[in-house]
């Protein structure tokens, strides 16, 4: 699958310059970089939420989990069923993410971590060609992060989609991803297999970033 090249500028300043790349189905791509490096803009443009400077051809079916997913004023289960109509699948996802007990609770009254888990379940009700997750576990504790990571791995394997995982956690990138992309000041500095990029980076910016965050 080809991710198109695009540029995004705000007030004449380029905030993201992505050269485009080929990605493989069934693989997880971790997107790492410091705050303001363009990770979320990258995710938003690829998902079609934010337009690039010029119209680009995006993959046909893209699922996107925003950094702050919206919880509609209805039960957790009804929120999840917005993603797809299979009730058994919704139950299965709720069980995997440890939110079965919240089934009837109004979703807009869930905690941050619970909302994040509900939103993951809601997205995974359907199969997409490309799934983009923008810091899906940022609000979760260790135990629920492990459950969510396990589900992300299972979902990617079962549906054969390509998953782009925007994360601040290098540990998470190491645990979950197959490949990694490092963004620096709106540019894709380096990409490749996670073992190489996260342990033997070639670019000085990547090295500095990894040193700072603790290799």
């Amino acid at each position: 699958m080809k991710l198109p090249a695009f540029i995004k500028t705000y007030d004449g300043v380029a905030v993201l310059d992505f050269p485009g790349m080929e990605i493989e189905p069934g693989k997880i791509y971790a997107v790492i970089g410091a705050n303001g490096s363009g990770k979320s803009t990258f995710a938003k443009i690829l998902s079609g939420v934010l337009p690039a400077d010029r119209k680009v051809q995006l993959p046909q079916s893209v699922g996107y989990l925003p950094q702050k997913p919206y919880a509609f004023r209805m039960s957790t289960k009804k929120n999840i069923l917005l993603g797809g109509s299979e009730e058994a699948k919704a139950n299965e996802l709720m069980w995997a993410l440890q939110i079965s007990h919240l089934e009837k609770k109004r979703a807009d009254r869930l905690s941050g971590g619970e909302t994040a888990r509900m939103a993951i379940a809601r997205l995974m009700m359907k199969a997409f060609d490309l799934v983009i997750l923008d810091e899906p576990t940022a609000a979760m504790d260790i135990e629920t992060t492990a459950a969510a990571e396990s589900l992300i791995l299972d979902y990617t394997g079962a549906t054969g989609c390509a998953t782009i995982l925007v994360t601040h956690s290098l540990q998470q990138a190491r645990r979950v991803a197959d490949e990694a992309l490092f963004f620096y000041k709106g540019k894709l500095m380096e990409s490749g297999a996670k073992e190489r990029l996260l342990y033997h980076p070639t670019q000085p910016e990547t090295k500095r970033f990894l040193e700072f965050y603790g290799q």
Binding site: K44, S47, G48, V49, S61, V62, G63, Y64, L65, P66, K68, P69, Y70, F72, R73, M74, L82, G83, A119, R122, L123, K126, F128, I132
Partner: protein
């Protein structure tokens, strides 16, 4: 104040026919105008808050300007349109409750639109982003957005009703404050004050506040019950 309160209680207990007529006309005008304003303003406000299109900002500014329209200006416009020399004189609506309702609708619809627009503009980006991420269509997204506004509709209605029941400038101009026909609480208070019957005016004012309080309590209870 004590004697005014006593007078207000006496007025209610005596079931004075004129007072009951004033209350009925006030209720008819306020309820009808606020409901019509709600029917017109809610979809318009949601549309304005949720959709992006050229000229949207200009419409928002225009609506905010209309929110501050002086009631007497609105009354004057209606008077000019429907008076004996106006282009709509054949409709013979001047000095009727109907024209009072129409003037009120023009005054309060922008308030409902503005209230809904501000609320929807706040939640729309997150809803759009989430819905797009789930692959939901535009129609489904709009319906979800409407569903999120249910509680705000109550607030908008309260605002509309409060403005309608307390309005005096436009209704006195187009209604004429005719006893037994178009006299409402606010215009009656003005009449009593002009006649020097201050305590009667204050008594009516207290009843007006009590009616407003009652409507607020009922709507708030309804809102609380629905939000459980």
């Amino acid at each position: 104040m004590g004697s005014a309160l006593q007078k207000a209680i006496d007025l209610i207990l005596s079931a004075d026919a004129e007072l009951i007529n004033i209350l009925c006309v006030t209720a008819r005008m306020s309820i009808q105008s606020s409901l019509i304003a709600l029917l017109l303003g809610v979809p318009l406000g949601i549309w304005l808050g949720a959709c992006k299109f050229p000229g949207r900002n200009a419409l928002v500014v225009l609506n905010r300007t209309l929110m501050g329209m002086p009631p007497v200006v609105c009354g004057l416009l209606f008077y000019m349109l429907f008076s004996g020399v106006g282009p709509l004189r054949h409709m013979k609506l001047l000095f009727t409750v109907k024209i009072m309702v129409m003037a009120q609708v023009v005054l309060i619809t922008p308030i409902v639109v503005g209230n809904m627009e501000t609320y929807v503009a706040g939640i729309a980006p997150a809803i759009r982003e989430t819905a797009k991420g789930l692959g939901l269509g535009g129609c489904k997204t709009f319906l979800l957005m409407c569903g999120e506004c249910v509680y705000q509709i109550f607030s908008a209605y309260l605002l509309a009703f409060a403005r309608s029941i307390a309005e005096v400038g436009a209704v006195s101009m187009v209604g004429g404050a005719i006893a037994w026909k178009t006299n409402v609480m606010t215009t009656a208070i003005m009449q009593y004050t002009n006649r020097g019957s201050f305590s009667l005016g204050i008594a009516l004012g207290m009843i007006l506040l009590a009616v407003s309080l009652l409507v607020n309590i009922v709507i708030s209870l309804l809102q609380r019950r629905l939000s459980r």
